[in-house]
């Protein structure tokens, strides 16, 4: 019952006028950001983070978390109406959302998406509330070897589970870590990696320079190239009668969104997985377990419900390791984590002891954000549809301007604005060759935690690497990480063996 007491105190904080106003604002901004093709939660959070310096840190985080939530709802709107996902997390929503819209049932899809998002959000926040405190309590005992092992596990999930080119994934992780090492050595304080002896590299590269470069400038250039030609928008009629009828249809899908919410939450916890694969998996499972799998892809309501419940659940799931362990479960939470560090809030188990008001205020704000996102989403569907007509040739330059201004405001150095441009363009060019960019962003945020953990561990053990393996918690984590690292290799060997077996049999 202590939990309920803490939670109700959290609600008092979340409903303070400033916080409450920011939660609603965050939800609205998130809905727009999510709805616009080419912009997802990570772009919104990265570009708008510097703007939140106006308010106290706790309020700023609530705003950004609400934005994250809103974006998960918003992504469905353009998936359904335009047939192009508003964010990668809403890709699976196009599969059945678009056919429904073409059939003239866009309102059904939109409302199912909003309600499924709400269901997924609610279940996952309850799970979050239950899991976070015990996990934080366990994590309080973690020493340097455990922290390093956890970091290894986080990066191993990218190699083992993301499905990207492995060499390029490792490259992306390492370059992000190296970028975080530029400036000076945190332990000895000596200048380090002052690249090309430029004065600008004598201090650390702020993670926002990379995040805004990649997710502001790089992402816009990518979207401009990919989204040639205009899209067709469907019509939606929204009346009270139809809303009520749709509610009933939605209730019949409760099994689907229940399953999808749990699946999404646990997939969301994994750093490399997150909302996009979570929603695709939920779609797959919904289709597999459906009595009428043939309807999927032709406009099945379950086909909208499953991915939307899962992507919201995953976004909450990804906050669990961020807050309790200090390891972000998604690129968006990586940026959030970086922001928290700027504000002097060190994410990790200590947060649950030292910043108890903040933690529970944030958790309560998630409940509030989830509810308001659902209400605002359904109430203002016509407004979002109108907004979706904004041509990209107006939105894109505004994002470029926001990126430049936000990048400057973060560090107040023109050097960083140039660096941001170079990293953004570089990231775009590398992305065209299938180099994944998310691991680098995670790495630049986690680098400053990983390096001291490694060096301190080795100091304790006098250079013996076994320190990571012979402790009761770090050992299993490290072994899991190593299995994940070699998973693609095992898979390749397995495929080769099966092919050989198949060839001799055939």
């Amino acid at each position: 019952m202590e939990l309920l007491g803490l939670l109700s105190e959290g609600f008092l904080i979340a409903f303070e006028p400033l916080n409450f106003g920011l939660i609603v604002l965050g939800v609205v901004v998130g809905l727009f950001v999510g709805a616009m093709p080419g912009l997802g939660s990570v772009n919104g959070v990265a570009i708008l983070l510097p703007m939140t310096f106006l308010v106290p840190p706790a309020s700023a985080i609530m705003f950004l978390a609400a934005l994250y939530y809103g974006a998960m709802y918003g992504g469905a709107i353009s998936s359904i109406m335009l047939g192009i996902p508003g964010a990668s997390t809403a890709v699976a929503t196009t599969f059945d959302g678009r056919p429904l819209a073409i059939k003239g049932e866009a309102d059904r899809a939109l409302i199912a998406a909003a309600l499924a998002s709400f269901g997924g959000g609610t279940i996952s926040i309850v799970l979050f509330t239950l899991f976070a405190p015990p996990l934080a309590t366990i994590a309080l005992d973690f020493g340097d070897p455990e922290i390093f092992a956890l970091m290894m596990l986080a990066f191993a999930t990218f190699v083992g589970l993301s499905g990207d080119d492995i060499a390029k994934t490792i490259f992306s992780i390492c370059i992000g870590m190296v970028m975080s090492a530029i400036g000076f050595d945190v332990i000895s304080g000596e200048p380090r990696l002052v690249l090309f002896d430029l004065i600008g590299f004598q201090s650390k590269i702020n993670f926002l320079v990379l995040a805004i470069g990649i997710y502001g400038i790089g992402e816009m250039m990518w979207t401009i190239e990919v989204s040639r030609g205009d899209s067709m928008m469907s019509k939606a009629t929204v009346t009270v009668d139809r809303v009520m009828a749709n509610l009933k249809i939605f209730w019949n899908t409760w099994k689907t969104w229940f399953m999808a919410s749990f699946l999404g939450f646990f997939v969301g916890i994994l750093p490399a997985a997150g909302a996009t694969p979570g929603s695709l998996m939920a779609y797959g499972v919904a289709k597999m377990t459906s009595k009428t799998p043939d309807d999927f892809g032709k406009g099945a309501v379950e086909g909208v419900v499953a991915p939307e419940a899962a992507n919201n659940a995953a976004s909450t799931g990804s906050m669990l390791p961020m807050l309790t362990l200090g390891i972000p479960g998604s690129p968006t939470t990586a940026v959030l984590l970086g922001g928290m560090v700027i504000w002097g809030l060190q994410p990790g188990p200590r947060l649950f002891v030292d910043e108890i008001d903040f933690v529970w205020g944030l958790i309560a704000s998630l409940y509030a954000a989830n509810l308001f996102a659902a209400l605002i989403n359904i109430a203002f569907i016509p407004l979002f549809l109108w907004f979706l007509k904004t041509p990209f040739t107006i939105l894109a330059p505004l994002i470029f301007v926001l990126s430049m201004v936000g990048g400057y405001a973060a560090t107040e150095r023109m050097f960083d604005v140039w660096l941001m441009l170079i990293l953004g363009v570089g990231g775009y060019l590398l992305r065209k060759l299938d180099y994944p960019v998310a691991p680098a962003v995670l790495a630049i945020v986690l680098g400053p935690i990983t390096e001291p953990a490694l060096r301190q561990s080795l100091l304790i053990s006098d250079g013996d690497l076994m320190v990571f393996f012979n402790r009761p918690i770090s050992g299993p984590i490290m072994i899991t990480a190593i299995i994940l690292l070699f998973l693609p290799l095992f898979q390749a060997l397995w495929r080769r063996m099966r092919n050989k077996g198949g060839a001799t049999a055939g």
Partner: protein, 165 residues
């Protein structure tokens, strides 16, 4: 695409080698009593970068990664045109910051993009390009006290600061 993959692989290998070299400015080995030296971490990370770049190049020769099999151009005519017009525009905007300040550079960039790249009419263009610097000024300079660069337009801003601050 194939050529771009190889060139990028070689460039990234060179970058990794440079980073490894740069890391050795600090001790990369064991310092007794202090543990690994300051260059240890970036050195080995850069070493892994180099190894993965070589792996990318090996994959190129074996034609086992999608970009190394693709015959499509790395950038077709449209992509290249947009890359030059958009990337060039953003670069010019940041360059202009040093001369006319960030607020005005943003306005010039918006006019360039919305009117000339986007082909919108002047009314739409100006209704976005003109309020933007005012809003960024009020938000950053006035509300946040984060003074955005003014370039050579200092005298103008001294007057504005007098009025608003």
């Amino acid at each position: 695409m194939r050529r771009a993959e190889l060139i990028t692989g070689i460039l990234m290998a060179a970058l990794s080698a440079y980073l490894m070299h740069k890391s050795t400015e600090l001790p990369v080995g064991w310092i007794s009593g202090e543990g690994p030296g300051g260059g240890f971490w970036p050195f080995w990370l850069a070493a892994f970068m180099l190894l993965s770049s070589i792996w990318v190049i090996v994959n190129w020769f074996r034609r086992s990664s999608p970009p190394s099999q693709s015959d499509e151009p790395y950038m077709d005519a449209y992509a290249l045109k947009m890359f030059i017009l958009v990337g060039g525009g953003v670069t010019a905007m940041i360059g202009l910051v040093e001369i006319i300040g960030m607020h005005l550079a943003a306005a010039v960039f918006l006019i360039y993009y919305i009117r000339f790249l986007g082909g919108h009419n002047w009314k739409t263009t100006l209704s976005i390009a003109l309020p933007t610097p005012v809003i960024t000024f009020l938000f950053f300079d006035v509300a946040l006290n984060k003074f955005l660069p003014t370039g050579l337009m200092d005298p103008l801003y001294i007057v504005l600061y007098d009025i608003f601050l």
